[in-house]
Amino acid sequence: MRTLDKLREALIEGKVEEVKRYTQQALDEGIPAKTILDQGLVAGMNVVGIRFREGEYFLPEVLLCAKAMHAGLDLLKPLLAGESAQNAGTIVLGTVKGDLHDIGKRIVKAMLEGAGYEVIDLGVDVDTEKFIESVKKHKPLVLGMSALLTTTMRYMKTVIDALQEEGIRDKVKVIVGGAPVNEEFAKSIGADGYAPNAGEAVDLVKHLTAV
């Protein structure tokens, strides 16, 4: 089995130390960091995403695989910069103001990173100003907002309206998620998309950012 195949399999099984070892082995074999990332780590996380969507994996398995992915990524990062390789793009995520729930967003973050995106996580209780500032600063492809409460999900519209007022709404795709949110709500507030789970969030981002 090729090293990259072994790396991918180790990641799918959530074997942190093996992922580290095979990443290093692939580098030692002279495989470019970008190839290791795409054909090893990202490819592995794609399978993890599929297994999560299909109900084979649950949160513990996904988080373990994400941890394994980071173990490999840490070895690649300095080299990726040297190779001037591009990541898949930047995504800004945050749980909206008034809401301190974080778990769902962190799973989405892990899956997006697994798909090769750079994720700027603004944390919880994020107000309009912080979202706007981050969009201006990082120029993300996508802004993702999360809410767990029906009480706080309406703030997503406040942020979208503010993006409009700032004249930057057309510069970024906006996606929303969280337990109380659905497709209909997303449309009603002018979001570009909604995903019911982390796996589909990755597909949605890919779809929205496809050139």
Partner: protein
């Protein structure tokens, strides 16, 4: 309405003995009372049938945060878990976990349930026994409760969510020490409740997300189910009805919950679906948690149709159905009215108070306890 009649309807529904009505509860969070005040009171008084104990002016009391964890800011519970809150009248979330570092496990001590509850408030068990006795004298049934998050959630409150998930995924041995500690605390608490003579015990532990369980059914059966079976069994063996609430999708383990001794389950309709819950009709009493997300975003017509659809699908003459409708502060008043009107049409009152009241024990006082 007499407490005796309320209690009779509740027990008959729970045990499939042809109740006269479907016990229904429309619950308002303190934040909802704070938002609408008198306007909400007008609706409540209009549908008095569902709110037999409500007295004019009660909204002022109900709007107040019943506990520090419903106040903005930080609050540390009896286990050392720090809760943060941004919104007066809603419960906060745990943001700091005392056992993120396993090194602290050895010296960690859980609270003593004989003296304080999970939130650190003093508990007087003699008083609780007297309250239960008084409720029985009035012909009522008495409810005991464990906190929302008594086991699985307490594990991740203590350890941190990601940390616990990784521990479970990797088979970390220390998780079993943590489980043993939380188990022992809860068993001690169970024995104290059993001595009071309660009729129904309320458990809440969120196990699901919108689409699935948080952990696989296999992992549930390995880490969680054995303890559920043990503690629910203690109550079941003593003739106490076991009420179990969980947010999210739990229909995949409903069979397990029945096996563990749950007699009344409180599943959310959205993640579990009417179709899937219908398969359990007649096997377990369902206090079905109606779609609160629809209450927030739907139209009054959609809400009426939803409640009709769920109750028509799940009801049986023998019983086995209760209905719960929770309205958060952003639910428009016309939607609240639609919820109350439809619930009033299809259900009668329930003997069980809502979650906030249960956990602040006001219901005992209002029923003649000391």
């Amino acid at each position: 309405m007499e407490l005796k009649k309320l209690s009779e309807a509740y027990l008959k529904a729970a045990t499939f003995r042809n109740p006269l009505w479907i016990p229904g509860k429309v619950a308002f969070l303190p934040a909802t009372w704070k938002t609408y005040g008198e306007e909400l009171e007008k609706i409540v008084l209009k549908y008095k049938k569902l709110f037999p104990e409500y007295q004019p002016g009660d909204y002022k009391r109900l709007a107040k945060p019943p506990h520090p964890r419903y106040m903005p800011g930080k609050f540390t519970d009896a286990w050392g878990c720090v809760w943060s809150n941004d919104y007066e009248g809603l419960a906060g979330v745990v943001t700091e976990s005392p056992l993120k570092d396993w090194k602290k496990l050895e010296s960690f001590r859980p609270p003593d349930p004989e003296k304080v509850d999970d939130y650190g408030d003093p508990v007087n068990w003699d008083q609780r026994r007297r309250q239960v006795k008084r409720i029985h004298e009035l012909g009522g049934i008495a409810f005991g409760y464990f906190i929302h998050g008594f086991f699985f959630m307490r594990l991740f409150y203590l350890r941190g969510f990601e940390e616990l998930m990784l521990d479970m995924a990797t088979g970390e041995e220390k998780v079993w020490i943590l489980i043993k500690m939380v188990r022992e605390y809860n068993l001690k608490l169970a024995k104290l409740w059993l001595k009071t003579g309660i009729d129904v015990i309320w458990f809440g532990d969120d196990l699901g997300t919108q689409e699935s369980l948080m952990v696989s059914p296999k992992m549930f059966r390995e880490y969680i189910k054995p303890f559920y079976k043990e503690i629910f069994g203690l109550f079941k063996d003593a003739g106490v009805h076991v009420y179990f609430h969980s947010d999210g999708r739990i229909v995949d383990i409903l069979e397990d919950l029945i096996e563990c001794g749950v007699t009344i389950v409180n599943p959310q309709i959205g993640p579990n679906t009417v179709e899937e819950l219908e398969k359990f009709k007649g096997r377990i009493c369902m206090d079905v948690d109606l779609d609160r997300q629809l209450f927030s975003t739907g139209t009054p017509k959609q809400i009426r149709e939803h409640i009709h659809c769920v109750i028509e699908a799940l009801k049986q003459d023998e019983g086995g159905l209760m209905a719960y409708a929770e309205c958060s502060p952003e639910v428009p008043l016309e939607n609240i009215e639609a919820v109350c009107a439809t619930m009033s049409e299809l259900c009668g009152p329930t003997a069980m108070k809502d979650f906030v009241q249960l956990q602040t024990a006001t219901f005992l006082k209002s029923n003649g306890g000391d």
